[in-house]
Symmetry: C2
Subunit: 280 residues, 2 copies
């Protein structure tokens, strides 16, 4: 089985794939839409893309693409702890405190704001397209006094020296990735939680419609683990809602709730019913 | 009265201020937190910052700052239509179709994706910190074959020639700005709508709490014009909700609803009760 993932090699998405699907052939793509299109065009059988980060919120590109386009179903979610390390080229390892420039993805730089502010007040900060791209650049320029913030896999992949581990400000940061495929997927890990994700568009201009939707779940004691709004792109104040249900979609109570929500005039799109995997 | 706004001169925030508060002294600040801190430190009496865009969604920096910090109340919202134009230095106006590089804010570039894709396939696209900064840069480099995407005020301010007007893909795009102040504000425009904005944090691990909150509004027929989630930054799946109420906060029914929501174990933060202004 081939899996498209948001590359380059050694991104957090790559960690998600390697942890849960060790036997797939991994193929890096540059953007989230390209990963999803690769599955739709049958170039690969699975796509793994980031979906939500505990600090930054949803990955809008993924959410909007899933709402506006037809896609393969979500077959699994993979929750990866985000641990950022400060790394330099081995040639610079003794003088790492004198680095002049630090490169990484904008989110990683934001997540390590306190570390950067306290340890590297005079260094220049520069954004790159991914933590892995930053690590790669540093590895290719041993002559520069540059450092990268990236994960452990990137340090291994690009032969960099981690001179300070765990430089992220928040200890409980996680990112949630989703695996999408038209086929059943075969995960290495075991899961105890089955979830479903739906997107609901409310009828225009009816006050209280969201309350009705939540009522349909509440009186059935169906537990929702997430409710998030996104703009519909049709005008200020128009949203769709992404809802995570902690039950398989085949559950009779869930099926009846969805049918009633549609009967109330809402549009419902089921993104998938899947297992949740946690990477240790 | 002095007003801090997200600068430089001729941003869309500047348009919001000039349209509704023509008599204030405008002072440009570089970031949203600096605008809000200027009011708290009494350097100015009012701050005007972007809050939500119809295509991109909430401005997370503003929302998160209002949630996590103490702030002056919101006294007004200003809704500005977003119209983007393609402009060049007058020295390049005859050869505008040959521009080699196009600069603007990332959101403006995204909003004009179709135009750029069809008309300027071979030109390089470069991000700048604001549409106004892009216009300023082009105005200072008459020798470069560069163009900027920015608003009409920026073209006037920096003496650029609009060679193609209204190059944005979506016609109904608006941005919502908020004016915050410890004092009453004096708007030039008249408003027919009074709104209130609150932020609600649900009690941890109680299924159905959001349903209870919405029920408290629904049975009282209190109309909510917006409900949006944002991560609490305490772990995946923990959110607070921003809710817009189409009633003044003093309304008896609103007051009772808020008291009950607090009695249910929710934290409620009132951001303000204010007039809504529409810029034509």
């Amino acid at each position: 089985m081939k899996a498209a993932y948001l590359g380059p090699e050694a991104t957090f998405t790559d960690i998600a794939v390697q942890s849960i699907f060790p036997n797939v052939e991994r193929i890096a793509y540059k953007t989230i839409p390209e990963c999803l299109e690769a599955v739709k065009e049958k170039k690969v059988e699975m796509a793994v893309v980031p979906f939500e980060n505990a600090l930054e919120g949803s990955v809008h590109l993924t959410v909007d693409y899933l709402y506006h386009e037809e896609n393969p179903p979500i077959r699994g979610e993979i929750i990866v702890p985000i641990e950022q390390h400060f790394m330099v080229h081995p040639a610079q390892a003794n003088d790492w405190q004198e680095v002049e420039k630090i490169v990484s993805h904008p989110h990683a730089l934001a997540q390590c704001h306190k570390f950067l502010h306290h340890e590297f007040r005079r260094a220049t900060i520069e954004q790159m397209t991914s933590t892995a791209a930053a690590a790669k650049f540093v590895s290719e320029h041993p002559e520069l006094k540059w450092g990268a913030i990236a994960n452990e896999l990137a340090a291994q992949q690009y032969d960099l020296t981690i001179v300070k581990a765990n430089v992220h400000d928040y200890l409980f940061n996680h990112t949630r990735f989703i695996a999408l495929s038209y086929e059943e997927i075969d995960a290495k890990a075991s899961s105890t939680l089955q979830k479903s994700t739906i997107m609901v568009t409310l009828p225009a201009d009816r006050a209280g419609a969201l309350h009705q939707v939540l009522s349909a779940f509440a009186w059935r004691q169906i537990n929702l683990s997430k409710l998030e709004s996104r703009p519909l792109k049709t005008g200020l104040g128009n949203y769709f809602f992404m809802i995570d249900i902690n039950h398989p979609i085949e559950d009779v109570l869930v099926q009846y709730a969805l049918k009633e929500i549609e009967a109330l005039g809402c549009e419902v799109k089921v993104l998938g019913s899947y297992s949740s995997f946690l990477v240790k």
